[in-house]
């Protein structure tokens, strides 16, 4: 049976999380992977989905009432076209987390949230207790509804040439209306997809220092900027910078933790990074227990030195 991947996109292009989700679908060894692109004037996003390696078919539902990608209308659409699929997958992003439980409930199926590994077509590994334990669960429902932790799967490559077919849109339920979005503007890569992340904590003292000290380093490294919950709670940066169990889960090639002590909830969000660097004045800080390279000292002196040293 084929598998359906619900694409996260902005109508023009696919979000990178969709690429990781396609890889998770491929790991299920389905006959075919189909991608659903639902949006408004979303032909470009659908065309992008058709080029993904391993995708056999792209299904497009294009209607004005999918413009805000709301869960109520999208869930109704997915459920109407769920027949014939063994699995329905979406990324475990705010988009997928918002949407997929509605799909699962409508299909009377248990959702398997944030899988990090596929053991077989019905058995999956997922973190529980903020990543302090890994549970292996076996699903019994006919259709498995799954969200995928994107950092656990590689991004699907290009080179595919899937057919694109359009689906009749479902009704507009008119339960919810988008009033507005305030997205953080940044020249930097997206936090959850960046290869390098520079994160700051309470040690930076205030928001001004956060920018002054970290931005030049992030610029040199081509890095996304992140923060600990302490820095967010103290108002240095907005909440969407937050790395940790209650924020974003990241796993870049290089994670640089600056002035971050390393609370359990922060470690849960970054401990799968390939290389971790910690700079902190407290030699006893728990962050050093997970860091590959630890540097003890005054960040206000060391970080500019590091930035300069990168040439």
């Amino acid at each position: 049976m084929p598998i359906l991947v619900v694409a996260e996109h902005d109508d023009v292009s696919l979000k990178s999380a969709t690429l990781n989700t396609v890889t998770a679908a491929a790991a299920l060894r389905a006959d075919e992977v189909h991608v659903l692109v639902a949006g408004s004037s979303c032909a470009a996003a659908a065309a992008a989905a058709a080029t993904l390696a391993g995708v056999a078919k792209v299904k497009v539902a294009d209607a004005a009432h999918y413009a805000d990608h709301g869960a109520e209308n999208l869930a109704a659409l997915i459920v109407a076209h769920a027949a014939g699929y063994s699995h329905i997958l979406a990324p475990a992003t705010s988009f997928g987390k918002n949407l997929m439980p509605r799909v699962a409930a409508a299909l009377d199926s248990a959702q398997i949230s944030e899988i990090v590994a596929v053991e077989s077509a019905d058995t999956f590994v997922r973190p529980i207790y903020a990543g302090n334990a890994l549970a292996t669960v076996k699903a019994s429902d006919a259709v498995k509804v799954i969200t995928v932790r994107t950092t656990a799967f590689d991004a699907a490559g290009g080179g595919g040439n899937a057919s694109v077919e359009s689906l009749p849109p479902g009704p507009d339920l008119q339960l919810s209306r988008l009033v507005g979005r305030e997205l953080t503007q940044s020249e930097r890569p997206e936090l959850s997809a960046a290869k390098v992340v520079v994160s700051g904590g309470r040690g930076l003292g205030n928001g001004e220092n956060y920018s002054k000290v970290l931005e030049p380093l992030a610029g040199k490294l081509g890095a996304a900027l992140g923060a600990s919950r302490a820095a967010v709670d103290a108002g240095f940066v907005p909440n969407d910078y937050q790395v940790g169990q209650t924020g974003k889960i990241v796993a870049p090639q290089l994670y640089v933790a600056i002035g971050i002590s390393g609370a359990i909830q922060h470690l849960a969000g970054m401990k799968d990074s390939k290389v971790i660097v910690a700079i902190n004045k407290d030699p006893e800080a728990p962050i050093f227990q997970v860091a590959d390279y630890g540097l003890v000292g005054d960040l206000f002196q060391l970080v500019p030195e590091l930035t300069a040293g990168l040439g």
């Binding site: 409930a105 248990a110 959702q111 207790y129 339960l175 919810s176 003890v296």
Partner: protein, 250 residues
Amino acid sequence: MKILVPVKRVLDFNVKVRVKTDGSGVDLANAKMSMNPFDEIAVEEAVKLKEAGIATDVIAVSCGVAACQETLRTAMAIGADRSILVETDAELQPLAVAKLLKALVEKEQPTLVVMGKQAIDDDANQTGQMLAQLLGWPQATFASKVEVGDGKATVTREVDGGLETIEIKLPAVVTTDLRLNQPRYVTLPNIMKAKKKPLETIAPAALGVDCAPRLTLLKVVEPPKRAAGIRVADVAQLIDKLRNEARVLP
């Protein structure tokens, strides 16, 4: 207007999680249990709406073992008026809880359900959305600001990349994110008062809900430990290591 607030009893967030050596789960024996922190935010928000004169009744509900009564007493100490425990020793998964809550919503007829976005034990992040779907209601998940108006609510949501504001028709389900509010400290007089507030207990069967688990837990293991690395003496050594050992710098 009535508000229903589902709350879950979980391992206290300050307690170190210990995986049982036989791999059957997490050791909860004699561990401190508390209200799921996101649910505490939900109770606080509902009580604030009552204090603002918008809500008339705040009903806390919980599904699980008899000890969930303590969690409900905490909710009533924060300010919930009464509570309902759907009591069972059986394992409850999110879909089953959503079905139980749907039955309670049909019985109590609230205009708003406010609940945590996820529980810090199973980290499922499902129940609120499932409940909304089962009821055919709109939802506003991951809320950081809630304004209740006439027949509708305007909710600011924490989404990847920033904030999103939506307007939903009532009745609706709202799930809470961390920055919605700071739950108040529970005072002793309020704890005493909460002991006298009504707490009703019902069985899942009385609500006509089949709670059989759909997911079988095969094993629970500790995640692979990350070994601590080395301390470098200075910035020059750090750059050298990153370039030539870790090879993450050009």
